[in-house]
Amino acid sequence: MIEARQLSKRFGNVQATNQVSFTARDGEITGLLGANGAGKSTSLRMIYGVIAPDSGQALIDGIDIRGETSQARSRLGVLPHAAGLYGNLTARENVAYFGALQGLDPERVRRRCSELGAALDMQAFLDRRAKGFSQGQRIKTALARALVHEPRNLVLDEPTNGLDVMAIRSLREMLMNLRAEGRCILFSSHVMQEVAALCDRVIVIGNGTVLADDTPDALRKNTGAATMEQAFL
């Protein structure tokens, strides 16, 4: 479970987020929907602990994320907006590096690499250097890297950016499989259809504050709009 509690962050004169609060539950996919610059990335960065909130708190399974070695970090898998890989390492080595840094023993790292390679259909490029990967292969490797320590919670920042239709569909399937395993998934997007199709719960964010927090159906009903797009507008 991921909880954001009154997260506020200011960069210079810009109030990036203001009292952002929401909860992403286990066994659900939660979508963070908003236009560019609405505060999605800042919220997520505070949740996965690379920037500190001015006030408020981010909790993973009830544990505060702050602190370099917080237990919360071990319970979280992260796919940041810029999910770059090490080009001179193979996909397997990229995943294994993060596994080792998460503190897994070598035997478990090996096992997880094979499991993830099979689960994410990566066998064809698992032992190739990441330098020439397609966007789809890159996302899969970055996702495997985020999942190597079998985290209960997963945060993805605009994961579908730059993916073609086929790659988006396979990413969707992967996320649904993870949900079926009872994990908590939080992802951000500025594409309405994507959120509507995939999410159990939608948090609409604009100007750094939470505008709505409901199921997609309820959102449509409350606003009386036929589509999510209209509801969003």
């Binding site: 960065r45 690379v50 920037i51 970090r73 992260v78 940041p80 999910a83 890989l85 390492l89 080595e93």
Partner: protein, 392 residues
């Protein structure tokens, strides 16, 4: 500690697969210095021996007016070429390099010579060319010799003791030792050593922060439950490893080059054998973490690979400044200078190369100062990594 080793192993492996890093760490940096050094020293030695053995070439215009002078020059082994150039033609010839030195005997030479008046001679040369200047000096010395010979004859003919014209006899005592002359060359060598060593870690230092950021792998890395200090330490250690290898390769290359070059003729202890090389390695080693920490520290403030390269090129110059200073002011090894990294290594290495005694305490102070500063920069780097601005 485990995380530190994980980071270290990954950085070493990743860079081992990077052709650019390998090229600068193992090939360009380490071999460039020794080869250039060897070529320069060999050329200098060649030039010296070549000049004293070779006959002076002199172009002479109007030689028919001075048969005595011509005979004298010939007897001194000068290779004479005869022309009928005017003064302006001679100027052109020297300017264009067609003739190194031209001696013109003007029209009134013979008349004035016979009436024992100072007879004019024109020596056309280019003093801005150091090669040419050596020729000119030799020509001038020969002409002066001819002049004083004639003067003595004239005095004797008039019944005057020639010694009267020599009130003082000056004897040169040159105290310039060959070692002194070698100082600049030694400065060059220690500079090449430090430079090659820094080059060895340059790309790792850039890669460790600016590279991670540009690639987009930094944010995921920073979300892990790993102390930032361990990340920085692992990266620094990998940079040090590459720098150490560069240093070792450079020293080996110097040992090989010194085997070919007859350094004793430059007054340097030519016994740069494995033992001296090991001593130099030990003296340089404390500078390795300092260089690594300094480069990583500077690189962690830059946003892109390109920006990092620009700033680190300046950092590469920093260790050269004290060495240039030491060379210009001919600094000698002094305990008070051992607190300055790069300068202290330069002075100690120079002493070792000259086979001068080196105090162990000086070596310790030099190492301590370098390591202390390395720790400071390492800590500052780790502190910067804990900041949000690190994300860029």
């Amino acid at each position: 500690m485990r995380a530190l080793l994980t980071v270290f192993r990954k950085e070493v492996l990743e860079n081992l697969r990077d052709r650019r890093t390998l090229f600068s760490a193992l090939l360009f940096g380490p071999l460039f210095g020794p080869l250039l050094f060897g070529a320069m020293v060999t050329r200098m030695l060649d030039q010296n021996s070549f000049e004293s053995d070779q006959a002076l070439e002199l172009t002479m215009a109007g030689s028919e007016r001075a048969p005595g002078l011509m005979q004298f020059l010939k007897s001194q082994g000068v290779k004479l070429t005869f022309t009928d150039w005017t003064e302006s033609q001679a100027r052109e010839a020297v300017k264009s390099g067609k003739a190194p030195v031209v001696l013109i005997v003007p029209g009134d030479y013979a008349r004035r010579f016979e009436s024992a008046m100072p007879a004019p001679l024109l020596l056309v040369a280019d003093s801005s060319d150091s090669q040419n200047r050596k020729h000119t000096d030799r020509a001038r010395a020969l002409l002066a010799g001819y002049g004083s010979g004639i003067a003595q004859l004239r005095l004797q003919v008039r019944g005057v003791d020639p010694w009267l014209a020599l009130p003082v006899a000056v004897n040169d005592v040159d105290v310039a030792t060959p070692t002194g002359r070698a100082v600049a060359i030694l400065g060059l060598m220690t500079y090449f050593l430090l430079f090659a060593m820094l080059m060895g870690g340059l790309y790792l230092a850039i890669d460790s922060s600016a590279g991670e950021r540009e690639r987009g792998s930094l944010e995921a890395l920073l979300s892990l439950p790993v102390p930032r200090g361990a990340l920085v330490a692992g990266k620094l250690l990998a940079t040090c490893a590459y720098m150490g290898i560069s240093l070792a390769v450079t020293l080996t290359a110097f040992v090989i080059v010194f085997g070919w070059v007859p350094l004793d003729r430059l007054g340097m202890s030519a016994n740069l054998g494995p033992l001296t090389a090991l001593t130099l390695f030990a003296i340089c080693l404390p500078f390795v973490p300092l260089g690594a920490a300094l480069m990583t520290f500077v690189a962690s403030f830059t946003r892109s690979y390109r920006e990092a390269q620009t700033y680190l090129t300046i950092v590469l110059l920093v260790p050269t400044l004290p060495i240039a200073f030491a060379t210009i002011y001919s600094l000698k090894t002094k305990s008070s200078l051992m607190f300055l990294p790069s300068l202290s290594q330069h002075l100690l290495m120079t002493s070792v190369l000259r086979a001068e005694p080196v105090r162990f305490a000086d070596v310790c102070v030099s190492a301590g100062a370098s390591l202390g500063l390395a720790l400071l920069f390492g800590a500052l780097t780790a502190r910067h990594w804990r900041r949000e601005s690190m994300l860029g």
